[in-house]
Amino acid sequence: MPRLLPCLVPFAFAATPSAQDDWWAYRPLQRPAVPAVADAAWPQNPIDHFVRHGLERRGLTPAPAADRHTLLRRVTYDLTGLPPTPAEIDAFVADASPDAYERVVDRLLASPQHGVKWAQHWLDVVRYAETDGYERDRKKPFVWRYRDWVVDACNQDLPYGRFLRAQLAGDELPGATVADLVATGYYRLGIWDDEPTDREQHRYDDLDGIADTTARSMLAISIGCARCHDHKKDPLPQRDYYAFLACFENIAPYDLEARVVPIDGARERFEQATATYAAERARLLARLREVAAAATLAPAPRGDFGLVAHYGGEGGSAARIVDDVGGHHGRGEGQLVVVPGRRGQALRADGDDAFLVPRLVQDSFSVTFWVRADRGGHGPTGGTQWHQGLGLVDGEVPGVARDWGITWFADGRVLAGVGDPDTSIVSPPGYDDGEWHHVAFTRDRDSGRLALHLDGVLVGEATGNRELLDAPASLAVARLSTGGRHFRGDLDEISFFDRALSPAEVCCLGQDLPQGLAAAPALAAAPELAALQRLQPPTLATVEVLAVRENGPLPPPSFVRQRGNVHTPGAAVEPGVPGLLGAIRLPAATPTTNSSGRRSALAAWITDHGNPLTWRVIVNRLWQHHFGRGLVRSSNDFGRLGDLPTHPELLDWLACELIARGESLKSMHRLLVTSATYRMACSSDAGGLAADPLGDSLWRFERRRLTGEEVRDSMLMVTGELQTGLGGPSVFPPMPAQVLATSSRPDEAWGEATAAEAARRSLYIHVKRSLPEPLLAAFDRADTDTSCPVRFATVQPTQALTLLNGEFAHRMATRFAVRLAAEARDLRSQLTRGLELVTQRPARAADVERLLALATDLRRDHGRDEATALQRCCLVLLNGNEFLYLD
């Protein structure tokens, strides 16, 4: 049980924050006045006042508005990552109403594809990947739920502060939902070496990744460089780094294990159902007890009901466990001790004690005993193989063998089963409650039927092999037969029968009914027995999540680590936040049962409306992804090593606006993309270029290349194959053999996908650190080991090779051609349609003629048939600059 202190030391504020640093990004947020502009007709909203004001001061003229096709294409990609469909284009072009564009924006923001597009921007920043890296590069279990959570958060327009609080401390939120827990998967996204050369140092490397990612993604502070020494340019002493790190220091190290948690509301439903169940069960059992008491004694069918051995704990020693039926005394190991039992005495195993008995049964049999333990056993969460638990009564033999066993699992489950083929029965959890429970495992060789009963009632059955189970040389009690995996708890009345007991017989034993097994025939005739067997205990609906966990409510003391070396602790530090933001303080942490509350305090501080960075940082990111770069280009660093804002007042105005709009990001998207600034054309005006070649004044819209995801998704879109469904485990589209060969285990490196899975949006492709998807990698996918604020946009010949010769591109071209052939009759109309699908504008005659000439030449000079010629034309279309670039 976690130790709870009645009174915890109040969470300390940042130790003597340095005087607040006078740097633009750390100054308090103040809503600037919207400037007046000379050309009052131009602005669509206040953004345009700021931009136009700047242009007027520099004597620059804004570029003209983009045409409708260009604008629709731009905004559709920016908000959903996909091109508009022909129907959407036609509708928009034909819509003469004054709010036609605004309605398009609303439609796009309401599309579930919006979340698919915008989740990726966030995933880049938090270094999302689905494996750990290093030698085994293991999969992070259920990490994809975090990705789905981000998609949902975007789609549901989760207020930004809530979005951050869930990730930082969702587990500590009052009434935390499954989604809140999933959000804390944020802490498990980084690289993780499962066999570090220095475990403690690596734990701090992991914490450093968390602190650095949090500071850069949410605050745009490069705090990581203060790990070893004071920051060179910003007033970030090393002490501040370790104070910030202390907010996370109580996090339990990543252990690859997912947590099983009840789904929302399930706990309450489960408790109600459990009460109903318990009442009915008690009623039936009381009735059966009456039946047993009134029964006429039946003679034992054979001997003592087929009992061949019985270990009751009486009369032996630690070395010799007495069988008072057959004399097959057990050979004790360790120090089994005798304690008061369910009946008489019981045997207590302390984690390294056990006893061995001969192979008493191998044909049809039953094994019954009482067990009492206050802690669960071993075995993976959700495990279904009996031999992964701690041995209760066990005859396991390594490998495929005709063996069997009954074991004690995590969560207080009992598992029982046989080998060859492996067949297991899993009980419900919760038998680790410190009470006595009766376990009965029966096996009928003729039918292969296996049954597991707990407290006299069937909990599961299965059909195993029908062979003689003669693999084990002997059987172990209180440990696995193969050694190790010892049970810790009490066992009593361990009985072996040489036949499968009937349900009535098991009930007699398991409920300790009057007259014992002799009452079984009377019981078998009672309708209450059948009703009892039918009575299903309610199950708690659960889900597995990858979530954060702390080491209890009491964090260890924190220290500065000299030169970043965890083994050389220096001065003690209290949790705190960078002093350069001295104006606002970290609130006191309120510990919960399981955690320190420090992360909640940090989350409250980060999402405080007075925090000068948080709101500036996120509106800058929104700006970046709509306009090609942020108002501050270095969107992860607002410090002195970063760039200055090109429009500081606009940035502040947007940040204030976000707060005023209830932290709604969708509302900000709408504001940004409906501005006249966003609707400008990508002008090549010589005057503008000469005055401001970088476009810092926002005199025009900046052209951008599609992202790797957009390239791939668009290809799937034009072939008509794209699957737009949301969510779920990641998929494994075919990977070229040459790429698989770079893995150290080429045969196991990647999975398989159905055609539909392979056509899913790129967000859903498995993100494996040691094996990046080649097309996405070629087109500058974010490196997933550190926070990536801005993707590169390189131009390389390997990209040309990927689209020109790659298997995927060719398949897409082929299917594109098939689609065109089906949708248009002659080559000219097919090519016209193809051009329109790729460029989302009406085809120009010259472009059609050029492709027609190609097709003609290919047929005449290269002997290609019509379908192949069309496929080649499609390949040209998919390689074109107009396809890959967004005006």
Binding site: I191, D193, R633, A778, D783, F792, T798
Partner: protein, 481 residues
């Protein structure tokens, strides 16, 4: 902070302009070099792989890193420890740390091969390398290497990227970032893998980390299609592709005409021509059949055991001739005995891997020398760590990992031949004389290539990141001629 100005602009403004979309790139170092971009605007507009001047006169133009993945045993190869023969089978007190954790005692496994002296320098070399042994007067051995991790995952990253943490660019990325490459028709940083598979952590071993992907290693195959997606798709002819590309160029040129001055669009048009040329240049580079029979024999192409590694060594020479900057060849791949990771049967393992590489490596050195290329080509040999002088298990000859002391050798590229630097203890377990960290090796390689390891920097996450880390690192001066 005061930022220097470049042609009247701040460094950062200049970068946004010169970097042509390289958002966030910190060509801190390139710009601090005298005249780097200032006097050569072509370098600024020629893209990230355009040749760049070194910091100082380079001794080597290219580096070939022969990566003995898995960790060869130093005491069975080049680090002669006569005392070990006497102790064979005896259990002694010895501190080791490997896959099996830290140990205070161990059973000595005597070297399984005899050592003989070779060359003018009289260097002891084991019988594992009868061919390479004849080149010792060109080799400089460092017996006192150490690394931070005795476990493959992190040790591989350390040898390739200087850090045990994943996410940093690899040596080849730093080299091409610093120097560009001389032949734009071939990748500047090529990696050749073992037929059994890549090393563990796969692509992380040639990743450009936080740098743009142009600097990542390209996996090159010595047979078949040399580079992914280089070969024409089935059913397409080169003439046909040319016709296709002409249409594409016309189409994109028309598109560009309506968008004058967009250098990205222009660069992308040019990239297709470059790709088209690569399609002929790269296969030409791997056409080893063009080499005369005696050269092919020199590399061991006539023997099934050595043919695979021999092809890669021969290809490496051809790549160096064609201006490729950094070539890494893996001996061994996958897991267990598919590489030098001799945990079980040392004799089987090392006989296999030395047998596959000895003649090809000797052939490479001889061939480079005969052609006068060795002077300007740095060859580096070694694994991510070495192996312990004691046995890993109760029985058998297998050795566990040893990162506390191991051997690497360098040759060519301004390295003094016939010398040995540093030493391990009497049993070859730990570096005791002049210990050198992996970063000293990296510093040496960069120095020979004309790059100052303490200046070659890249701004990332608020730090001027360097291959050798933040603290000043000297190259191994003793090695430099």
């Amino acid at each position: 902070m005061h930022e220097g100005t470049f042609c009247g602009r701040t460094r950062r403004e200049f970068l946004w302009q010169a970097g042509a979309g390289f958002a966030g790139i910190g060509l801190v170092d390139a710009l601090s070099r005298d005249g780097a971009f200032g006097s050569d605007p072509a370098a600024a507009s020629g893209g990230p792989m355009a040749p760049k001047p070194p910091h100082f006169a380079a001794r080597a133009k290219a580096v070939i890193f022969l990566f003995m993945y898995g960790g060869p045993s130093q005491v069975d190869t080049f680090d002669f420890k006569p005392r070990l023969y006497e102790l064979d089978g005896k259990t002694i007190d010895i501190d080791t740390k490997g896959r099996g954790g830290s140990k205070r005692q161990g059973r000595v496994v005597g070297p399984k091969w005899a050592f003989r002296q070779y060359g003018q320098c009289g260097k002891h070399v084991s019988d594992l390398f009868p061919h390479l042994a004849r080149c010792v007067d060109d080799l400089a051995f460092v017996h006192s290497m150490y690394a931070e991790s005795p476990l493959h995952g992190s040790a591989m990253l350390m040898m390739n990227s200087g850090r045990i943490l994943s996410g940093a660019p690899c040596l080849g990325s730093w080299v091409t970032y610093g120097l560009g490459t001389e032949n734009q028709n071939l990748p500047g940083f090529c990696v050749m893998l073992d037929p059994t598979g890549g090393p563990i952590s796969g692509a992380k071993n040639w990743s450009s980390g936080y740098m743009p992907a142009v600097y990542q290693g390209t996996v090159l195959r010595a047979v078949g299609e040399p580079i992914l997606d280089l070969a024409l798709p089935a059913g397409m002819t080169r003439a046909e592709q040319r016709r296709l590309l002409d249409t594409l160029r016309e189409q994109d040129t028309a598109h560009l005409a309506a968008r004058p001055g967009d250098s990205d669009l222009a660069a992308r048009i040019a990239s297709y021509e470059l790709a088209f040329r690569m399609q002929s240049h790269a296969p030409e580079a791997i056409e080893l059949d063009r080499e005369p029979a005696h050269v092919r024999r020199l590399y061991g192409l006539d023997d099934a055991r050595t043919a695979d590694f021999g092809r890669k060594c021969l290809l490496a020479r051809r790549l160096v001739e064609r201006g490729v900057r950094c070539i890494q060849i893996y001996s061994g791949g996958s897991h267990n005995d598919h590489n030098w990771d001799a945990h079980g049967d040392l004799v089987f393992n090392h006989t296999t891997h030395a047998g596959a590489t000895d003649r090809p490596i000797a052939g490479l050195l001889l061939d480079l020398k005969q052609r006068g290329l060795l002077e300007s080509t740095l060859v580096v040999w070694g694994g991510e760590f070495g192996r312990q002088p004691t046995a890993e298990y109760a029985e058998g000859t297998g050795r566990d990992h040893d990162s506390a002391g191991f051997t690497m050798w360098l040759a060519g590229g301004g390295i003094r031949g016939g010398i040995t630097v540093g030493a391990t203890d009497e049993l070859g377990n730990r570096a005791v004389e002049k210990p050198f960290h992996v970063k000293h090796l990296h510093a040496t390689i960069l120095t020979q290539l004309g790059l100052d390891p303490n200046r070659l920097a890249y701004l990332h996450a608020g730090l001027d990141q360097k291959l050798v880390g933040v603290e000043r690192v000297e190259p191994i001066r003793e090695l430099i001629a």
